[in-house]
Amino acid sequence: MTRQRVLDLVGLAARLVLGAVLLVAGGAKVGNPLGSARAVQGYDVMPFEVARYVGYALPWVEIVIGLLLVLGLFTRISAVLGTLLMFAFVVGIAQAWARGLTIDCGCFGGGGQVAESETKYGREILRDVGFALCGVWLVVRESSTYSLDRTLFGDNKEHA
């Protein structure tokens, strides 16, 4: 296997990990808009009503970006958006931690207030940073195996 091919496979893995996580996270929240709104409101960073609509839209945003990553369509742009999303989550969790709020991240459904002993901020942040790194890889090196980018736009985009 050439070095090129190995790196392309790493790209595929990064796409599938970040894409699948976004799809699962979005899918888990999509049937429960009130819960999703309450989770975003729990972070207490936006006006109450704004947080409601962010909560309504977020699962769909995650699903769209997740799908694009899994399919490998417009990989770099999708990866930029996915990475920004993960960083936003990290910042959100970190500020909740720093301010002494006791909430569940609501990452895969759930969310809202929990008992102080039930918070898992450190683990949640580490996990999201890990997902963000998958995104960073794809931003730096977009090319990957089995991508729609390659099928649709040919090999010329590969080594960008």
Binding site: A57, W60, F74, N156
Partner: protein, 264 residues
């Protein structure tokens, strides 16, 4: 640039355009689809919580987001202690709270010794999806319209589903509770119509919004003159009974003793 280079470039460009789809066209389509999915998803979510089909009424003399006072008719004196109860018909701990303290609180409110304000919440809806907590709350205010708040409140808690699922209460459970509460004839018909119309669903959801903004995200919560009471501290663990006398004393005095102030 030599003509050969130019030819090579042109050939390369030609082969590119022959081989690949137009990124701008595909990109445009993807962006449009993404926007449509996200926007229609958010709009759908709005209709999911806040039922477009609901009649959207307010209980008599109550504003949006404000608590419901089931015993306002008893006209408690000005200086009667204000007791706020936050509850959700689908919450198991609320059922326990109702069974342990319901009679005492009801009695005090009926006698005008306290001013009871009920905040119907939708905590379990936000955990499981659906709007069964809100529909249940709406049906209880429909019962209050027919003068059967106390009885219906008790009956519906007794009929609480064993597990918390999106479906929540079955429609026939409400009717069963209404009959247990003693509704019949025209009163039952009026209650049924009010319940089926989801008349107060929007109102109950507005109460939940308001209380979340006040930092009350769980249930049950009881506040005496604004101080949160650790009601679990009144339960005798051996007998599994609540210290009714002490509860009465706390509620009618309007003062929560320091050892029973809830921190969370």
């Amino acid at each position: 640039m030599s003509s050969q280079d130019r030819k090579a470039k042109a050939a390369a460009a030609a082969s590119r355009s022959n081989r690949g789809a137009n990124a701008f066209v595909v990109g445009g389509i993807v962006v449009i689809i993404a926007m449509v999915v996200i926007v229609s998803g958010a709009i759908w979510a709005t209709t999911q919580s806040g039922g477009v089909d609901s009649a959207s009424e307010l209980p008599q003399g109550v504003e949006e987001g404000q608590p419901f006072e089931p015993y306002a008719g008893t006209n408690p004196p000005e200086d009667a202690p204000v007791v706020d109860v936050y509850e959700d018909f689908r919450c198991p701990a609320c059922k326990g709270f109702e069974q342990a303290t319901g009679e005492t609180i009801t009695q005090l409110a009926e006698d005008g010794e306290i001013r009871l304000r009920v905040h119907l919440k939708t905590v379990i809806d936000s955990l499981t999806g659906g709007e069964s907590s809100a529909v249940a709350g709406s049906s209880a205010i429909c019962a209050a319209d027919q003068g059967k708040w106390t009885e219906y409140h008790k009956a519906l808690f007794a009929l609480q589903p064993a597990s918390e699922t999106k479906d929540g209460f079955a429609e026939e459970t409400y009717t069963e509770a209404a009959k247990m509460a003693g509704l019949s004839g025209d009163d039952l018909a009026a209650w049924q119509q009010c319940t089926d119309a989801h008349s107060y669903v929007d109102y109950v959801q507005s109460v939940d919004d308001a209380s979340v903004q006040d930092g009350i995200t769980g249930t049950p919560v009881i506040e005496v003159e604004g101080t949160r009471l650790n009601w679990g501290g009144l339960i005798d663990q051996e007998k599994q009974q609540v210290d009714t006398d002490r509860l009465k004393q706390i509620l009618t005095s309007g003062k929560v003793p320091e050892d029973l102030v809830a921190t969370q």
